[in-house]
Every structure is written in structure tokens, then in C-alpha cells.
């Protein structure tokens, strides 16, 4: 009975899909601006991808419900204002002598070529504007750009203010941290009643034990693993939940931001350096068991290795997640290009397949990061074993 129902559901979906695409072809034949729509849709897809990957000063729940987030800048004192204060202003470039460019507001009847047009966001109440992502303490009339030798425009009149604002990434990191705290607090308080946890903690306990038994103890050893367990657990669950949050259509991209992965890798680096024992430093500077000339050759390589290992952690996580997002969103954009049922089904199936792989990648990257971190910690607290 259940199999018949699912088969019927599949046939129904395919039927609807074929009817829908046939209707679409008919309407395309009617209009003759197909070339026009084909030309700017790739740019629309690129803009859609950029919008999802980049950080923003507002939080868009769905198209039309924008929640402005506070902007906190340092401009001789902390200034806080809401990003809803900023309105888009279209300007046209005015080329002056000596290849400097200033801006003039675009009037209602001005028609300017596309590459002489630009826009910036200006604050209505205060004297700030956002130009290409930088917050400046001037409005469009005071800005000056210069065209340098490669033909790129550089802002010469003002420099960006230091930006501490609560952007979309920061807000979602806070929310996920609060969720993690609540979930694990529930687990730890449920241990007061007895050795078996109750509630949501029952889901988390096997995962915690997995990290302790399969990642921490084999790599760090029985003697020292307890010191590092809290950091390993934090890193694992943070990266995993943040990657999963990136899979939602809200456009959250936390580990795809190199600053976040940089800080995680930096903390790993600092912990290994500050809790390492004599054997670790001995292995770097004076590797035992090799002839003396080799020790001098190995020393700079080992020193570089201490920096490169956390650096590779950062790059691996950032590149995996960003590449996954870009591929997934390009495929979703590609679905709109499909003109017949077969290509639509193929792209849709590929997107679904890649989405499921992305879920695996979310877990895998968290596991790899945690495992390599535990490996580096283990190398830092290794006991001395006699060299053969």
C-alpha cells in the first residue's frame, strides 16, 4: 500500500513538472526578449551568490523582511547607529583632472552609461556613508577616488573606520552559541539526577563520548586529555552547528568567513604553544636522533611547520565550506536555466545530491578540524620516548 502511494506521488510530480515546462516554452516563444533575459540572468545568479556568501549589516529573513542590525564604529569614541538609517543613493562619476573621480548625485532624468554609475548608502541623520562595504565619515559629495595604473579605482580622500558592528555573521554566531550553551547546560544538569541523562542531552551524550574516546584519548593520551576536552568539544560542536546553519536558505555564512576560521586556528595555535612541554620544543629546535648538520636544516622547517599547520586548518575549513556553498547555489541558479524536463530533473537531482553531500561535509569538516587539533595537542604534550 505504501509503495503504491509513493509511486503515485512520484508520477504525479513528474507529470506536473512536464506540464509546467511545456507551458513555459509556449510563453517563451510568444515573447521575443529571450536574449535580454538570458544576458542578465547569469549576473543575477552571481549577485545572488555574492549576497549569500558575503556579510551584511542587515538580516533578511525572506525577501522583503529586512531587519536592520546595529552598526558600531570607532570614530574617536564609539558611535552606534542602526543600519536602517542608511538609504541608497545613486551617483554618477565625474572625472576630474589628474584622473581623480568625484561623485555627483544622479538626477531623475540623468541617463548615464553603466560603468559611470555607482551607488553608496548614506546615513540620513549622521554624516556617514557606506561605500563598497567600507563605512566612511563623509557623504558622497566629499569622496574622492583615483584611477591608478591598472585601471582600478581607489578611495584617496577617506579611509574606512574601524568597524565593530553586529553584522549578520556576528548575530548568528551569538545565536548559535546561546543554543549550544542551552543544549549542553541541559545535558550537564541532567547528570545531577543520575548517570543516565534525560531530555535533549540524551542525543548529545554519545557524541561527547565519541569525541572523548575516538579523538581525544587516542591522540592526546590518557594522562593529559582532560585539560583539552573542553576546547575540543567546543570546536567540534561549534563548527558542526555553524556549518549546518549555513545550509539553511537564510544566507548565513559563518565558517565561510575567513576571519572566523582564522580565530579558531589562532586559538589552536596559542593553546599548543602555551601548553607544550620541553619535548615539543626539543623536537623543533634540536631534533633528537639526527646528525648535527641535519638539526640545523630541520629547525627552520619545523618552525615554519608550527605556523603552517594551523594555517592549513584555517584554509581547509574556509575553502571547503565556501566552495560547497558556491557550487550549491550555482546549481540552484542553473535550475532556472533549464528549458526542458530532462535538464530540469538532472539539475534538480544534482542539487539534491550535492545538498546531502554538503550535510556530510559539515560533519566531516568539524571532525577533521577537531581531530587535527587533538593531534597537535598530543604532539605538544608527548612524553619522552627513547630514540632508537
Amino acid at each position: 500500500m505504501r509503495r503504491k502511494v509513493s509511486l503515485l506521488a512520484l508520477l504525479f510530480t513528474l507529470l506536473i513538472g512536464s506540464v509546467a515546462s511545456a507551458h513555459d516554452d509556449h510563453s517563451h516563444a510568444g515573447e521575443h526578449n529571450e536574449a535580454h533575459t538570458q544576458k542578465d540572468t547569469p549576473e543575477k545568479v552571481k549577485g545572488f551568490i555574492k549576497h549569500h556568501l558575503k556579510d551584511a549589516h542587515y538580516f533578511e529573513l525572506f525577501h522583503g523582511a529586512k531587519m536592520p542590525l546595529p552598526i558600531i564604529v570607532w570614530d574617536e569614541g564609539i558611535k552606534v547607529f542602526s543600519s536602517g538609517d542608511f538609504k541608497k543613493v545613486e551617483v554618477k562619476e565625474v572625472r576630474g583632472a589628474d584622473s581623480t573621480i568625484t561623485f555627483e548625485k544622479l538626477g531623475a532624468t540623468d541617463t548615464v552609461a553603466k560603468d559611470a554609475k555607482d551607488y553608496l548608502y548614506e546615513s540620513v541623520n549622521a554624516n556617514y556613508s557606506i561605500f563598497h562595504g567600507k563605512i566612511l565619515d563623509a557623504k558622497h559629495a566629499d569622496l574622492q577616488l583615483k584611477l591608478n595604473k591598472e585601471g582600478k579605482k581607489k578611495l584617496i580622500s577617506h579611509s574606512a573606520l574601524i568597524d565593530f558592528s553586529v553584522t549578520k555573521t556576528v548575530l548568528m554566531t551569538f545565536i548559535i552559541c546561546v543554543l549550544l550553551f542551552l543544549a549542553f547546560r541541559g545535558l550537564s544538569t541532567s547528570y545531577r539526577k543520575g548517570p543516565i541523562p534525560s531530555g535533549f542531552g540524551r542525543l548529545l551524550e554519545p557524541l561527547v563520548l565519541f569525541i572523548r574516546d575516538d579523538i581525544a584519548i587516542p591522540n592526546i593520551g590518557e594522562k593529559h586529555y582532560k585539560k583539552y576536552m573542553s576546547y575540543l568539544l567546543t570546536v567540534f560542536f561549534f563548527i558542526w552547528f555553524v556549518n549546518l546553519a549555513g545550509m539553511t536558505p537564510l544566507g548565513i555564512n559563518i565558517t565561510g568567513n575567513i576571519a572566523i576560521t582564522l580565530s579558531l586556528a589562532l586559538i589552536t595555535y596559542l593553546i599548543t604553544q602555551f601548553t607544550a612541554n620541553k619535548n615539543y620544543w626539543g623536537h623543533i629546535f634540536w631534533m633528537p636522533g639526527v646528525p648535527v648538520p641535519m638539526k640545523f636544516v630541520l629547525m627552520p622547517i619545523e618552525l615554519l611547520g608550527t605556523i603552517i599547520k594551523p594555517f592549513s586548518l584555517m584554509i581547509r575549513l574556509y575553502a571547503n565550506i565556501t566552495a560547497g556553498h558556491v557550487v550549491l547555489m550555482s546549481l540552484i541558479g542553473l535550475v532556472f536555466f533549464a528549458t526542458n524536463l530532462f535538464s530540469f530533473g538532472a539539475f534538480f537531482g544534482l542539487t539534491l545530491f550535492l545538498g546531502v553531500i554538503e550535510l556530510l561535509v559539515a560533519f566531516l569538516q568539524a571532525y577533521i578540524f577537531t581531530m587535527l587539533t587533538a593531534l597537535y595537542f598530543g604532539a605538544a604534550v608527548e612524553d619522552h620516548h627513547d630514540e632508537h
Binding site: 575516538d214 592549513s312 584554509i315 581547509r316 575553502a319 571547503n320 566552495a323 566531516l364 569538516q365 571532525y367 577533521i368 581531530m371 587535527l372
Partner: protein
């Protein structure tokens, strides 16, 4: 997206594919020899694959 960039990206993919393929192959051989060590071999395979993919991605970003 110039031609040298694309050729470089292709070479990187060839390198990463060969490396991970070799690891996967020897992992399969090892599992066939000793099926009860499957989980250990699987873990080691995943770790090695992630390391190689890390280099691959880093190079891909530079290209």
C-alpha cells in the same frame, strides 16, 4: 578566469584526484584483507583525504 588559471585548476584537480584515489584504493585493499579493521582504516582514509583536499583547496584559491 584566464586560460592559465583554468589550466592550473585542472592540474590541481588531477593531483588531488590521483592522491585521494590512491589512498582509497589501498584502503579498499586493506579492508579486503582484514574486514574487522574496517572502522580504523576508514578513519585513517578520511583523515588522509581531508589533508590532501586541504592542499587542493588552498592551491585552488591561489589559482
Amino acid at each position: 578566469m584566464t586560460i592559465p588559471n583554468i589550466v592550473g585548476a585542472g592540474l590541481i584537480v588531477i593531483g588531488a584526484g590521483l592522491g585521494i584515489g590512491k589512498i582509497g584504493g589501498s584502503a579498499m585493499d586493506a579492508i579486503a584483507r582484514q574486514p574487522e579493521a574496517t572502522s580504523k582504516i576508514q578513519t585513517a582514509m578520511i583523515i588522509a583525504a581531508a589533508l590532501i583536499e586541504g592542499i587542493g583547496f588552498a592551491a585552488l584559491f591561489a589559482a
